[in-house]
């Protein structure tokens, strides 16, 4: 890698519970000051990976380094890493202030500085007025922010967040996304954020690792992952997509020529280097409805679903495959009727050939 040292360097890490493999040879480098997100469906091993970084789970195979130091065998209380727990794990018998000051106390900071720093942290999360309350007397969103303040107070070099927003309602979740991102930029601490909500991942992260079944499928920026998914799983998991089986006629570096249903040929970016049959991913919002003459594909409209800002056309392609098209709702477009024959045009770069 580059000369800059990674904050967290995960090398070929495997975790087994008995005969069950929860993580299978995961390798990741997370840069300092990065907002890094682990994204994947439930059970894919996100929490397991996070707990191994924090030190709550032993590593079966492989190695994790924090700023170059191997951390295997180091107890959680000796790692410069703090965690915001999924259900916060606020100490129920301590006030908000004592919760926030706990890590400082354990690090041996004196009472006065502890108090001052706890006040500052609470100010940062807008909870100064609640310092003397017990955790049970706070709303979910407030508890979440206390957990955040508590984990940030000892100035960790890496902050781990395990679905910290999952217990909040939609509006609060959206507000907290912005706050979290700001906080990360202000403090310059490396954030490793776990979620199974792709919108959360896309809006906040510098980079995202998409995981499935204990393996990392793809690492990249939000844009890379959305626009250049490497495989079927990533394309399908991130956003909405149409996957159709196509025949590859020519491969030329990272581009390929494929045969669309109906016989037209299309040259598109490709993650695959081989010929044969492969899946082609086409994002539904990067299509337009055109006259049959200039179309890439022909289709029959089956249903039109009104979604407010968008209209969704559910159509059937020549050859029988189902296909979705999303059109922006505007007075300028003519909405086709069910049963109408339409032509579809694929925008440049909207289609991508997947590796598997």
């Amino acid at each position: 890698m580059a000369a800059v040292q990674d904050a967290v360097d995960i090398r070929n890490v495997t975790k087994r519970y008995g005969s069950f493999t929860a993580l299978d040879g995961v390798s990741l480098g997370i840069a300092d000051n990065e907002f890094f997100t682990l994204l994947g469906p439930s059970g894919c091993g996100k929490t397991t990976l996070l707990r191994m970084i924090a030190g709550f789970e032993e590593i079966t195979q492989g190695e994790i380094r924090l700023f170059g130091d191997p951390i295997a065998g180091r107890d959680p209380n000796h790692r410069p890493v703090n965690t915001v727990f999924q259900h916060y794990a606020l100490f129920p018998h301590m006030t908000v202030r004592d919760n926030v000051a706990f890590g400082l106390k354990m690090k041996g900071m004196d009472a006065a500085s502890r108090r001052a720093r706890a006040e500052r942290m609470l100010e940062m999360v807008h909870l100064s007025a609640f310092a003397d309350r017990m955790p049970a007397q706070l709303s979910g969103g407030q508890q979440q922010r206390v957990a955040l303040a508590r984990a940030l107070a000892p100035e960790p070099r890496v902050l781990l967040l395990d679905e910290p927003l999952s217990a909040l309602d939609l509006k609060l979740r959206q507000a907290m996304r912005v706050e979290l991102k700001q906080l990360q930029e202000e403090t310059g601490i490396t954030f490793i954020f776990v979620t199974h909500d792709q919108e959360e991942a896309l809006t906040m992260s510098d980079r995202i690792a998409v995981m499935s079944a204990g393996q990392v499928q793809q690492i990249g920026t939000a844009r890379e992952i959305y626009e250049a998914p490497v495989n079927r799983f990533v394309a399908d998991f991130i956003g909405e997509t149409n996957l159709i089986e196509v025949e590859v006629t020519r491969v030329d570096g990272d581009r390929a020529e494929v045969v669309l249903p109906g016989g037209h040929r299309l040259t598109c970016p490709s993650a695959s280097r081989t010929g044969g049959r492969h899946a082609l991913s086409i994002r539904p919002e990067r299509m337009s409805v055109v006259a049959e003459a200039g179309a890439d594909m022909l289709a029959v409209v089956e249903r039109v679903v009104y979604l407010g800002t968008d209209l969704q056309l559910m159509v059937r392609l020549e050859g029988g495959a189902e296909f979705h098209v999303r059109l922006q709702n505007s007075a300028r477009i003519a909405v086709p009727e069910p049963g109408a024959r339409i032509g579809l045009r694929i925008e440049d770069g909207a289609a991508r050939l997947l590796a598997d």
Binding site: G55, F56, E57, E58, G73, R74, D75, P76
Partner: protein, 267 residues
């Protein structure tokens, strides 16, 4: 991080120590009850002679009478206490928040909160003052009273976990109040009732202090009879009786364990 936050070094050994302390005396007595020797100190080979002695020896009539008293008192006291406790549990958990509910709760638990010796003194004074001669009846009354909370606890715990929807569904399907109780609620709460009954039975069989105060002259239960014998020193036949009572207890725990397991499988 070697073993996770649940692990504390030495706690496993403490558990072993705890079990050794709890079981060592019982195991030793069981072993020595099969001692063939007349002396309790020396081992004289395996023998059942002290078990024979319990049933035919010179003290046999006394122990038989005491065992009979203990058994009948425990049966009656457990039955009555369980009936009272079942009624109370249904009222406490199905009558809503009536006035005096928390007072009643305190009342039910009172026998658990007052030290046994105080209950014994108070009960003796009461019977003397009202002029009831102490004997079988007074033991029985005292046992019924202090068995109520022991029967109540498992029954109430079970009832708490039973959704009112079951009875409501029964009522919705044209069952009367009594039918809803006997056909739906009672079968559902049965594991709790049985647990309560077994617990009350054992507690009655176990009691020494209160019985000792209210038994009157000439009346004995097994614990008071054993206590009387032990006062003159531990003899081998006491160890045989102890082992027999241990066996009875073991049967009861196993029963209660099984009932709870069956109970946990149903809702």
């Amino acid at each position: 991080m070697s073993r996770g936050v649940r692990h504390y070094p030495g706690f496993g050994w403490m558990t072993v120590l705890c079990l050794v302390i709890l079981y060592a005396p019982l195991i030793v007595v069981t072993v020595y009850s099969f001692n063939g020797s007349t002396s309790i100190t020396t081992w004289g080979g395996f023998s059942l002679r002290w078990y024979v002695d319990v049933f035919t020896g010179p003290e046999a009539p006394r122990f038989k009478a005491a065992a009979w008293n203990s058994l009948t008192i425990a049966l009656i006291a457990a039955t009555v206490a369980t009936a009272i406790a079942t009624a109370a549990a249904v009222a406490m958990h199905r009558a809503g928040g009536f006035r005096g509910r928390s007072l009643t709760f305190a009342l039910i638990n009172l026998p658990l909160m007052v030290p046994e010796i105080v209950v014994a003194v108070a009960t003796l004074i009461f019977f003397t003052m009202v002029g009831i001669t102490t004997g079988y009846m007074t033991i029985l009354i005292a046992h019924i009273t202090f068995c109520i909370p022991f029967a109540y606890l498992p029954i109430a715990a079970r009832l708490q976990g039973i959704d009112e929807g079951y009875e409501q569904a029964a009522r919705d399907l044209y069952a009367g109040r009594g039918q809803a109780f006997f056909l739906v609620l009672l079968p559902l709460m049965l594991p709790g009732v049985i647990s309560g009954y077994l617990l009350a039975f054992i507690i009655s069989l176990d009691d020494f202090i209160i019985t000792n105060f209210v038994k009157g002259a000439g009346m004995e239960t097994l614990p008071t009879a054993i206590f009387g014998s032990v006062k003159q020193g531990i003899k081998p036949n006491i160890m045989a009786i102890s082992t027999l009572m241990l066996a009875v207890s073991a049967v009861f725990v196993t029963l209660s364990y099984l009932v709870n397991r069956v109970g946990r499988k149903s809702p």
